[in-house]
Symmetry: C2
Subunit: 216 residues, 2 copies
């Protein structure tokens, strides 16, 4: 049985790791980070040691309370159920449904299509177009959905799990040079989020494994 | 404000629609189905009418209690919160985390990589290999995870949201001719699930829009 601090297996640039880092920061949790470099040594996530921990060979994974959880949204839901303050899901079930719909749109509908392993399969010459297409297509839908759900943030005026998925996906959009002009609501919410301390301390440019040239 | 029965927008072969149909059947809910043919007329999900309802242009979507929810796991979580009996998530938070980890592994880690719109982009000559690779890679991880979580079903001996994701993904694996020999636990659980009435009445071979040649 594990004792002590939770351990987050994380990679600075992984947008799914960033989601969890924001949750841990918002909930003011103390944790250790073990960095898994997804590109070094052919990908440290493929080591036997890491595969035993997370057979999906993906980050993030969180060791906590004697179990290891993979899949960022499963981790966040567990944190929410066991450390409910501050809440990342609203109380009202309909608003919770909106938060989860947006979270899953980002986590199932966009991110998997533009992650590292898929882009490798697509091949170097098609990667950029492929990623841009996946992100634009999802953002077109999201921008429309936000018209009826957003306040200051994705759902109303409180930061929720949906926002924890949004900011990292916008950062990926930037990396893949997606034109954000058609998404004024997404852009506005992202700007508000990046002003929050929890999003700043967890940012890819400020992690233990961030290379010096990408630090800010 | 909507009144009356919930309306499920569904396509017989959509594995994500099937997840929700199983949930509705297990919770013994009365609902109407509106079928959205994903291949006819260039795809009915692209109609203006359907896009207004679900900007992601995907099934399933569920109109219920005056709101419309997209994303199958968001729908199932909403049903669980508002119609808690029988439960699709265990009471223990750690077991809930296992259920969600497996559900998300299937819903974010496998299904999006082998859905219709991605396979169209991949092109006809590469589709089969692409889909097989996505499914095998996910099933390798899942088979390993199930060694520590499974009882009769994915997590212990009660049907959970994870099982609602498993059976439809195994059906997709069959369609894409994935060899299931390396996955005895997945195969065993799937067989137990297909024996349950809720999985049978919601099965793709028994939907209002199932073509005669695929009926069983």
């Amino acid at each position: 049985m594990q004792v002590g601090k939770p351990i987050l297996y994380s990679y600075f640039r992984s947008s799914c790791s960033w989601r969890v880092r924001i949750a841990l920061a918002l909930k003011n949790m103390d944790y250790e980070t073990i960095t898994i470099n997804l590109t070094k040594d052919g990908g440290q996530q493929f080591s036997e040691e890491f595969q035993a921990l997370n057979p999906m060979k993906q980050v993030p994974a969180l060791k906590i309370d004697g179990i290891t959880i993979g899949q960022s949204l499963a981790i966040i839901e567990y944190l929410e159920e066991t450390r409910p303050t501050p809440r990342l899901l609203p109380q009202d079930p309909k608003k919770r449904a909106h938060v989860r719909m947006i979270s899953h749109l980002l986590a199932s509908g966009i991110q998997p299509l533009q992650n590292l392993s898929v882009l490798k399969q697509v091949g170097p010459e098609n990667q950029l177009t492929w990623a841009q297409q996946a992100i634009s297509s999802g953002f077109n839908a999201l921008e429309q959905i936000l018209q009826s759900t957003a306040g200051k943030y994705c759902v109303g005026d409180e930061v929720s799990m949906a926002d924890l998925c949004l900011a990292p996906q916008v950062a990926n959009a930037d990396r893949f040079k997606v034109d954000l002009t058609p998404y004024p609501t997404i852009s506005r919410i992202n700007k508000s989020l990046l002003a929050l301390e929890a999003f700043q301390v967890s940012h890819p440019c400020r992690q233990p494994d961030t290379p010096p040239e990408l630090r800010a």
